[in-house]
């Protein structure tokens, strides 16, 4: 019983972080209809910014997370303006090729600059609590709370703020959005920056719980795409639910069987979901 609870808690914790990465990716796809393969690299860079901030410079943890999010927001916005804007409205394969190139450049340079040795980000909080026989570290509690707060915050931003409305309008119909006076180019870099910053924050937290290497972006991208396809392209709720499903599978199956089986099982689940709901759990039909 306590094992089950432990796996459940770990699954939710993992799922929320997966959700954060995937929400970032789905936001970028939803608004720009481009495939951003280097999303995992934003996740990795976010973790490394925090690593240098805390472990190398000895600066406090939480401001470091904020700094990481801001830097990666800026990087994402810059990449959008310089590389992806000229490809807007062209065949999706162009942006796919550019982002694949970014993956190689960023993770390759990462290995040269950061080194290939696994590193760890010092934890912000220590200790933990026993709940019904399951151990829950304060760190995981804090990380889950921050993830939930960010997801709720993003949801509220998209529902209640004028910029959030504009982001959703551009996602749904860019021409008609422009006819309301919305500068679609501005919305593009904001959404790209925001999506990248979410991945960076997830990187910071995942990096604190586990360890970081410059090549960690690859698996994050794969997982984010699995989640986004499962939840429905462009759907924030779908990305959250998909993240939780994948987190739960990862936690339960990795603990009871093995990590490889968990990955295989994740694909089986996605396969089944797509058979019954081809647009994903919460998908719209993007014609």
């Amino acid at each position: 019983m306590s094992d089950l609870l432990q796996m459940g808690l770990t699954g939710i914790n993992l799922g929320l972080m997966y959700g954060l990465i995937a929400i970032g990716l789905t936001l970028i796809f939803g608004v720009m209809r481009i495939i951003q393969y280097a999303h995992g690299e934003m996740f990795m860079l976010g973790a490394f910014v925090l690593y240098y901030w805390t472990a190398e410079f000895g600066l406090p943890y939480w401001p470091g997370v904020a700094v990481s999010a801001i830097i990666i927001f800026g990087l994402g916005a810059l990449l959008q303006v310089t590389l992806f804007r000229p490809l807007q409205g062209k065949n999706i394969l162009y942006s796919l090729a550019v982002s694949l190139g970014l993956v190689l450049i960023i993770s390759g340079s990462g290995q040269l600059i950061f080194g290939t040795i696994t590193k760890g980000i010092p934890s912000a909080v220590t200790g933990g609590v026993l709940i019904g026989g399951a151990y829950l570290s304060y760190e995981r509690i804090v990380i889950s709370s921050v993830s939930i707060a960010l997801i709720v915050g993003l949801w509220a931003f998209l529902r209640l703020s004028v910029t959030g409305l504009a982001i959703r309008a551009v996602a749904e119909d860019p021409d008609t959005a422009a006819l309301q006076g919305i500068q679609t180019k501005r919305i593009h870099w904001i959404a790209f920056g925001l999506g990248s910053a979410l991945a960076a924050i997830a990187g910071c937290m995942m990096g604190s719980l586990l360890s970081i290497v410059p090549t960690m972006g690859f698996l994050a991208t794969i997982k984010a795409f699995m989640i986004v396809i499962m939840g429905g392209l462009g759907s924030v709720i779908g990305a959250l639910v998909g993240g939780l499903i994948l987190g739960m599978i990862d936690s339960v199956v990795t603990t009871t069987i093995s990590g490889d089986i968990a990955l295989i099982l994740s694909f089986v689940v996605i396969f089944l979901i797509l058979v019954f709901r081809p647009a994903g759990l919460f998908g719209q039909n993007w014609e």
């Binding site: 004028v162 409305l165 504009a166 959703r168 309008a169 749904e172 119909d173 021409d175 008609t176 959005a177 422009a178 006819l179 309301q180 006076g181 919305i182 500068q183 679609t184 719209q284």
Partner: protein
């Protein structure tokens, strides 16, 4: 002239959609563009609203040159589109759609007032304000589309096929509304397939054929012009 188009050309790639069109709209007037599908009516509206860049020619509004300006800027000047097929943000609520109409407005009090005015004009929208706009009937969606355009405090309305796909009763209501909007001081460019209706509502008409103006004249004259009657009014 409030809005003046001179020698407008629009190309899509190598295809010429508009080939040298000139037209003008007086303050407080209604002009109409009629013609068959693909004659270029919507392309002219898109060139005015800034969604497509003209290949050559000029567009002036209130003395200022606006051709080639981005759509987001043209709206700010007071030229507001009611797009063909409504083009609502279907996943968003009626209220959110209306709010987006006033996207450039920073005055919260005025925005609330404008929403209230739209609800007074179309009471059914008040009840449905929190529903996704995609769930409304065609006529109600057209009300949202017009309401959204009015939220932007327009000087000129570009209406693209407002009667399309509506019931005869609803078409009458939209026609009545266009008359009211004009009376309130708006100038209107009306693009219609329903040529009869369009000519009855407007002062001046332009008949488009494959990107050029075939016939133009005061609407009452076009209504009795034998050629126009034969080709577009189904007589």
């Amino acid at each position: 002239m409030l809005l003046e188009v001179k020698d407008l050309y629009v190309n899509y790639g190598k295809v010429a959609a508009i080939k040298g069109v000139s037209m003008g709209l007086e303050r407080g007037g209604i002009i109409t563009l009629i013609g068959a599908n693909g004659a270029g009516k919507s392309s002219i509206l898109k060139a005015i609203s800034g969604l497509v860049k003209p290949t050559s020619g000029t567009i002036h509004f209130d003395g200022a040159r606006i051709d080639g300006q981005p759509a987001s800027k043209v709206v700010g000047m007071g030229i507001v589109t009611v797009p063909e097929g409504r083009r609502l943000f279907k996943l968003m609520t009626v209220r959110e759609n209306l709010r987006l109409g006033a996207f450039l407005d920073r005055d919260r009090a005025r925005i609330s007032r404008s929403i209230e005015e739209v609800f007074e004009r179309f009471p059914v929208l008040r009840e449905k304000q929190h529903l996704p706009s995609g769930k409304l009937s065609g006529g109600q969606q057209q009300m949202v589309a017009i309401g959204r355009a009015l939220m932007a405090q327009p000087k000129v309305l570009l209406m693209d096929e407002p009667s399309l796909g509506l019931s005869p009763k609803m078409i009458d209501e939209i026609a009545e509304l266009i008359v009211q909007l004009r009376a309130s001081g708006l100038s209107i460019v009306l693009v219609e397939q329903n040529a009869n209706l369009a000519l009855q509502l407007s002062d001046f008409g332009y008949v488009l054929e494959t990107g050029t103006i075939a016939v133009s004249g005061p609407s009452p004259e076009l209504l009795v012009d034998p050629e126009v009657t034969r080709a577009y009014l189904g007589a």
